[in-house]
């Protein structure tokens, strides 16, 4: 690191791509890293990734449903498992002392509180927990990396990989975990072995494993199109009547009653555009990489959304860009159909909704194609987006100690360890009320779900104690739609772009134009102009060419 890291050097070296796809045993594509010479072969990452040994210690109430390769629904739990089983024997730590930094979106708990103490005792190490404000996290970390003063254990959310330049940090400041976890070595840590391979790949750079995944899932999508099931059912409308974009538009006409202050739609673009066959970012046609901006399907999707906005079916506050109150509009019935992030369909959403209207029930439309023909294709995101890393200055025995701690933290949902990590000690931080761990005042103050689970956690489950209807609806929707989920081009591959391409990749001007278009303020032709500018003077064509040459042609699609 240092002065020699100029732009030209980046261009020549940073084809740092890690990728692999397990397609029914057929493995393909992977990459060379920033610290490596180019062209590491696919065998290297294939052998590096940990084996997958699913946990069988706790049976869910609603089992996972498998979709295509590497795609499956999250298991559902209607009740919290009684008599929690213990999955880790003994104390994982050997008395080491470590610092950790994780982002936290909420109130930072007091340092060295009763919960931290209980956790340290159970873990057999002293973890000095330093949660940092999540909203400023992207600006805090670069100062640490610039000074080469990372803590022993740090969480770096993958959506900020470019900000943190994780591809560059991997190997220089972050520890290579391959010697400890690759292949069957991971079986030493059974709970880590129960994390699916795809999630480990999301934390791989070059041909090596760096990241420890949290909240991994086989059903990672940005979201769907939610609707007020209670309101629509009361009007005799069922969701299976919506089979195409035209059906949805008609529903807009039927449901909008501006005089009564009710509009059919909130913003839906973010989760609805795949219905037109638009990929997340890339697709491959005739062995050539194509950016979604170059696809006519994108313009078709925009045209429909433009019409939706200008027809007056979208709530004016949504058109005015007021997203913060989107949920309030949905709860209060001022909008009836809204794009919904998959993280938002949970017990607290249900509680807020039923507080506004006791009949509140969220549901989501099954995926459809815009013209109502053919198979919908919904591209899945990275299998894990919360990844923690160990400092490369740690000695091998320290890394082993922390991996044993991570194994404890990754104990499955409902286990004794999970209960301690997420709810604290019974009688101190929580009490069991109707079989559900319920936080005490001490628990509310100190036990935060964004502390220890942000270092390592088991694969995601759907559980909403006290709101069974949510768990049932959500698991049923996932099961009905899992068949449409497909892996995108460059699935789980970490690509670190040269700095000079970052602006073209963010394409702020095009994204702004798209937003203006689905808010009804800009015609599709104007978006097309913005795209043309992006292609020529905005570096768009260069970006496509670079990615085609350095990623697609060298490492394949990763699908």
């Amino acid at each position: 690191m240092g002065i020699e890291l100029n732009r030209r050097r980046f261009l020549s070296v940073t084809a740092s791509v890690a990728g692999l796809a397990a397609t029914g045993g057929l493995l393909s594509a992977c990459g060379g890293g920033a610290q490596q010479k180019t062209g590491a072969n696919s065998d290297a990452l294939r052998s590096a990734l940990p084996s997958y040994v699913p946990s069988t210690s706790i049976k869910p109430d609603i089992a996972s449903v498998a979709g295509g390769p590497d795609v499956l629904t999250d298991p559902g739990f209607l009740t919290y498992p009684s008599n929690p089983v213990t999955t880790v024997s003994g104390v994982p730590g050997k008395g080491g002392k470590y610092t950790t930094v994780t982002p936290l979106w909420g109130t930072i708990p007091p340092a060295d509180n009763s919960f931290y103490q209980a956790m340290n005792e159970a873990l057999g190490v002293t973890l000095e927990m330093k949660p940092a404000d999540g909203n400023n996290y992207a600006t805090i970390i670069p100062t640490m990396t610039a000074a080469k003063r990372l803590p022993d254990w740090i969480q770096l959310p993958s959506w900020w990989n470019a900000n943190f330049n994780v591809g560059e940090l991997a190997g220089s400041q972050l520890a290579d975990l391959t010697p400890y976890l690759s292949g069957d070595k991971v079986k030493k840590y059974p709970n880590l072995a129960a994390i699916p391979t795809g999630a480990w790949q999301a934390g791989a750079w070059g041909d090596k494993i760096y990241g420890i995944p949290s909240f991994s899932s086989g059903f990672v999508i940005s979201g769907g199109t939610s609707f007020r099931r209670d309101v629509l059912e009361a009007r005799g409308i069922s969701s299976d009547q919506v089979k195409s974009a035209a059906d949805l538009m008609n529903l807009g006409k039927e449901l909008t009653d501006a005089k009564a202050g009710v509009w059919a739609f909130d913003d839906v673009w973010t989760y609805l555009f795949p219905a037109w066959g638009v990929p997340l970012k890339w697709t491959v046609k005739d062995d050539k990489l194509v950016h979604k901006y170059d696809m006519p399907e994108l313009l078709d999707a925009l045209e429909w959304h433009y019409q939706l906005a200008t027809a007056g079916y979208v709530h004016p506050d949504a058109l005015a860009g007021n997203n913060a109150d989107g949920n309030v509009r949905f709860y209060s019935g001022k909008v009836l159909i809204a794009g919904g992030g998959s993280g938002g369909w949970n017990a607290s959403d249900h509680q807020s909704g039923t507080a506004a209207n006791p009949n509140f029930r969220r549901d989501s439309f099954d995926f459809f194609t815009a013209d109502g023909k053919g198979e919908p294709r919904i591209e899945v995101g990275s299998s894990a987006r919360i990844l923690s890393y160990l400092n490369s200055n740690l000695k091998p025995e320290q890394i082993e100690e922390l991996l044993a701690v991570a194994d404890y933290l990754a104990a499955p949902y409902g286990s004794a360890e999970y209960t301690l990590i997420n709810f604290g000690i019974e009688g101190v931080h929580h009490t069991m009320a109707n079989g559900v761990p319920t936080a005490t005042e001490e628990g509310k103050k100190n036990v935060q779900p964004q502390t220890f689970p942000f270092l390592a956690s088991p694969p995601s489950v759907i559980s909403n104690p006290g709101s069974d209807v949510v768990t049932k609806d959500y698991t049923a929707w996932q099961a009905a739609n899992v068949k449409h989920l497909k892996k995108p081009v460059f699935w789980n591959m970490n690509i670190s772009l040269p700095r000079s391409m970052a602006t073209a990749d963010a394409a702020q001007a095009v994204e702004d134009a798209i937003k203006d278009c689905y808010h009804g303020k800009k015609k599709v032709s104007e978006v097309k102009e913005a795209i043309n500018t992006w292609k020529s003077s905005g570096g768009g064509d260069k970006l496509v060419q670079w990615t085609d040459e350095n990623v697609l042609q060298k490492y394949g699609t990763g699908q």
Binding site: G2, I3, P142, N165, E168, G261, H315, D317, A320, A506
Partner: protein
């Protein structure tokens, strides 16, 4: 002031620096906190301007980032979005100058003519109040009142009249922005003009009234000349800040009217610099803005001197 002016200049120069320092030491001591604040928050950050000539990479820091000379500026001047936001900034500034600037003066004159002190204080407090609201709150209030689903439009709808969503209309955005600024800031801006009014010698009014001057004549010949110094000062400051029309107000409403209507230089730096990790580009846009602002304030000050007014300082 006048005692300083009447001192012969020769004597002033005879004092050594040391003697002058000793003479003014208590005054100098009193300015230390303010100077320290300026140094820490206004001068030290100037160091960051270096990044405008680099391809700044936060990971390696300012010293190790690659120097690119004027590359960022070349790109900047070829960027139509940049020129768009510059045009927007100047246009908004011009409209605000015409529509906003005279209002606090008029308000101050009106308020000054209210005789009941109680009533005057009440009006003043009500007019000040919005200044203490954040932009988020101010815009939310506007949205609730005039938005597509706001009070006014829902009323029009209930009467089967056509509606107008002024909050999302890019064509009238400049009027919306200005009226928001007037509602929020006009009351606060009258303070300085009220102070100027209070400084006018009341004897002048009395004697001119005795001479038979009416209300308008007194306004024209006494009040306005009395306020001229302050008006000029405010005008110079306003022109110097012509490229600073606000940030949050535009940031919040950018989505509502679209980026083409709402992007000003500050939001440009933010969206196309900071938000896309292109820090150097944002710094270049910021530096450009500062240089132009400096030129503006310098020429406005010159202009004030040409009219025989003080401007920022006495020439």
């Amino acid at each position: 002031m006048s005692s300083v002016d009447t001192e012969p200049p020769a004597r002033k120069n005879k004092l050594t620096l040391r003697a002058r320092l000793r003479r003014d030491r208590s005054l100098l001591l009193m300015t230390v906190p303010a100077v320290a604040l300026l140094l820490v928050f206004n001068y030290v950050p100037l160091f960051g301007l270096l990044t405008a000539f680099q391809d700044y990479n936060p990971l390696v820091g300012v010293w190790n980032s690659e120097w690119v000379g004027f590359d960022q500026f070349t790109t900047l001047f070829g960027d139509s979005l940049f020129w768009g936001s510059l045009t927007n900034t100047l246009y908004l500034s011009f409209v605000q100058l015409i529509l906003f600037f005279p209002i606090p003066i008029a308000l101050a004159l009106l308020l000054n003519s209210v005789l009941s002190e109680r009533l005057r204080n009440l009006i003043q407090s009500i007019a000040y109040l919005p200044h203490f609201f954040s932009w988020v709150l101010a815009i939310t209030i506007f949205q609730q009142m005039f938005g597509g689903a706001g009070l006014v439009n829902q009323f029009l709808r209930s009467k089967d009249m056509s509606t107008w969503d002024v909050m999302t209309d890019p064509d009238t955005f400049v009027l919306l922005i200005t009226s928001q600024a007037i509602w929020k800031e006009a009351g606060w801006s009258i303070i300085v003009f009220l102070a100027a009014l209070a400084a006018i010698n009341t004897d002048l009014y009395e004697s001119s009234a005795v001479d038979g001057a009416g209300r308008w004549r007194r306004l024209w010949h006494i009040t306005l000349p009395g306020m001229m110094g302050v008006i000029m000062l405010m005008l110079v400051l306003r022109l110097g800040n012509a490229l600073t029309v606000g940030f949050e107000q535009f940031l919040i409403q950018r989505e509502a009217v679209g980026h083409e209507a709402a992007d000003v230089l500050d939001t440009f730096s933010f969206y196309y610099g900071i938000a896309t990790n292109n820090y150097s580009y944002g710094a270049a846009a910021g530096l450009f803005k500062s240089v132009i602002s400096l030129l503006l304030i310098w020429s406005a000050n010159k202009l004030a001197h040409a009219f025989g007014e003080d401007g920022l300082y006495r020439s």
